[in-house]
Subunit: 465 residues, 2 copies
């Protein structure tokens, strides 16, 4: 109880300055304690921190400090800190922990957190963690691991509260009062039929506010979704967000209740997918962490750079085909990057809107044609606008009216092509079941570069020279 | 109860095919009912849908169908559908509704949903909605509206359950049983001191599983955060995600409890901010919706395209400075876009990692220098690698060994500059309190274009000619 009291006393303070309690001073204090090898001071500094903040701290300090931290803090590092650590570091920290410390840490976790922790460990570490569990817990975790990665079965927790559908409020309350092992967090009592199939959720609030004799089946919530254990966690997270679910039952192939997924798990999945989308759109194709080494990070970026090199060389081949034209008028070389760059940006804009709309399921077969038509019109409008602006700039700069006309036409054509490519490529990739966030970029850039250089230099060679 | 029973019967089916129930056939059925002007058939088709799916449907059909939909469905469109609609369309649909229908719809909503709905309405519509509320509800909503936009005060709901800190489990249960107006969703009883300051949260599960005589203060949860009503919703959402909060009390300047924020609200904020980040990184600076008209969308994209035009012209001025050099060796014009493009991509990669890490608060003053050093090393490594590859390509293509050496050196320098710019610019913008997702792109591209063209053409003019 001292812990709780501390939290309460500390909270209004932290709430008033920033929601984020891991400030620079505290990190400095931790590093000071490490330098002094003062365990008491270290633990004092860590005490008020949430496990998630301790994990952030471990991530932010450098590898040498990290080792000293794990050695000095030792058995203070609990399972909660381990499950908050990012995957790459988790294996590293677990490798540094004493086996008994690891055992203690894992025992305190709920089954979904243990599964999450095990997923990224080597076989040897995995065995050590599994060995630390009690037999029933081990069986539960192992059975979760039989479900595919990124499935509802991996995401769910086994700990839940259920009741036969014919029970009354009083029976449910008595049952919960009698149970020793209620989950630490639960929001619903899941009603099941005699075959153990979930038939409805009753919120604790409804139970609380109803007379003891009320039938639970009269209190079921309207928002109710059941997920098969094999459902992808992406679809689960989408449904939680779309339907404002708080918790939902998970069933096996026979439709029998095997676990529940809660909103905080879904929020975590949503957050991970956001991260993946943003990184992939930015051309960072592999998982990327701030704690990656130089080599890991360089390798993770090289794939996309290599693809980009190929498309850039392809664009250069197009330019090379007009080498004679450029030789006769060097102004073309000066202006051509503008055409390609504006096309590339317009294409990226459309592509970003399309990729996001596909992810949120707002862009569907229903409205794809209408949205494509709109994008092409937008490309035409902005292409005409910026083509005219650039024609003016070119006319003043180089004093060749025909050059002005050529760059205006080329920009218009390129931006229309950019819009078309920017929307059609993500839709096509999605139909082919390739992640549009991952693969659209290179294709769109190739289209805009090639069309940009080809129309500008091609028109110039026909019209001006 | 018929509704609930339907939901339950339908759920396992929908769960088994897809978490997303709005399929093409249903949209077609809705359009068919609109064509036939058959209200009964329309409502039949809509009946099994969640309000969020109905809102998606209204968003996906074209403007003319949308008008027919609102006219035919009329008073069937409830407050829940309205609050699920995206902001741009909401005002449009509300404008089409009969005043009495709107009144009915709004009365059924919780205070936070009414506030959310009001935020985007014109003064006249706003008055109509406020007028529809009962006096106490109207006061509550108006007082929420006095808090700044995007603050905890706007996000919170007023409906909550609190208890004096000295109460026992039995007293809390009796209180809840006696109350007529329990919130539809609540997860905690908030303990308050005599000055109405929140001192702890007790989950309903703990209350349920404890003896009647237990003091509530013995059951408070460890994870407890209090948010001032003026706190930004960004910080609130971050804290919910970081600390796995389910609900948290909101206080006024005096520290008195005025509302609670629940995890589904926080999840919504996180989702919106993610959308904003992705769009801004993709150069879509204004709010963008698939239902925007061509003109709205074109205007929303033009700002960024204009900024890009300026930086592209700036880069062309650099090229123009070397016009004589290009005139002497047209291969330079062919190859220079490769140097700039590879630099631009490397810069975007680093920038994306940096922007995301700043948003998740993983990139801090603590590790900024170390991460910058790593990025520069990554840039150097990949710059050297792709510089060598490109040197080979150039040597074979143009047969000029010095040209190969120049492009290798230029690519190395450009990618190091890209890495430096890609990390330093977002960090700097963040310090200046400018959203790095919004403004980093143009700066980074300018750096990579200018450095790319300048080093390549400059080295060539010095070394080759």
């Amino acid at each position: 109880m001292t812990d709780d009291a501390d939290q309460i006393a500390a909270a209004p303070e932290t709430g008033e300055e920033d929601a984020y309690t891991l400030d620079r001073r505290r990190v400095a204090a931790v590093l000071g304690a490490l330098d002094a090898q003062d365990r008491a001071q270290l633990l004092d500094t860590l005490e008020p921190l949430h496990p998630a903040d301790v994990a952030d701290l471990i991530e932010q300090i450098n590898p040498a400090d990290r080792r000293r931290f794990v050695e000095l803090a030792g058995d203070w590092i609990g399972g909660e800190v381990l499950s908050e650590l990012e995957e790459g570091l988790r294996a590293e920290v677990i490798g540094l922990l004493h086996p008994e410390v690891l055992t203690e840490a894992v025992r305190a976790l709920e089954s979904d957190d243990v599964v999450d922790l095990l997923e990224d460990l080597e076989t040897e570490q995995r065995h050590a963690v599994l060995g630390a569990l009690s037999a029933p817990d081990r069986l539960a975790v192992q059975s979760s691991l039989t479900y595919p990665e990124y499935s509802a079965g991996r995401l769910m927790q086994r700990e839940l509260v259920m009741a036969p559908e014919h029970w009354s409020v009083g029976q449910a309350i008595d049952h919960m009062r009698a149970r020793e092992d209620l989950p630490s967090q639960f929001y619903h009592v899941v009603l099941v039929d005699p075959a153990m199939r979930p038939v409805g959720n009753v919120t604790l609030g409804r139970i609380m506010s109803s007379a003891r004799g009320t039938a639970l089946s009269d209190l079921v919530e309207e928002a109710f979704r059941i997920f098969p254990a094999t459902e992808s966690e992406t679809d689960v997270a989408y449904a939680f967000n779309q339907y404002h679910l708080i918790s939902a039952p998970v069933v096996d192939e026979g439709g029998r209740l095997v676990g529940v997924i809660t909103i905080d798990d879904a929020m975590g999945v949503l957050d991970e997918e956001h991260e993946e989308d943003i990184l992939r759109l930015g051309g960072v194709t592999e998982e990327s962490r701030l704690t990656d080494t130089v080599l890991q990070a360089a390798r993770g970026r090289a794939t996309w750079l290599f693809v980009n090199l190929l498309t850039a060389i392809f664009a250069s081949v197009v330019i090379d085909a007009f080498a004679d034209t450029i030789d006769q008028m060097v102004a073309l070389a000066v202006l051509m990057p503008i055409v390609a760059s504006m096309g590339g940006n317009a294409g990226t804009q459309t592509m970003t809107v399309a990729v996001r709309a596909i992810a949120t399921r707002d862009l569907t077969a229903q409205n794809a044609l209408r949205v494509t038509a709109r994008e092409v019109a937008v490309g035409g409008l902005n292409g005409a606008l910026f083509g005219l602006v650039m024609a003016g700039v070119a006319a003043v700069w180089f004093g060749v009216p025909l050059l002005a006309a050529v760059i205006a036409a080329a920009m218009l054509l390129t931006q229309v092509a950019a819009a078309l490519g920017g929307i059609a490529i993500p839709i096509l990739l999605d139909r082919l079941r390739i992640d549009p966030a991952l693969a659209s970029g290179p294709f769109v850039t190739t289209v805009t570069d090639v069309v940009g250089f080809f129309t500008f230099l091609g028109l110039a060679s026909m019209v001006i020279l």
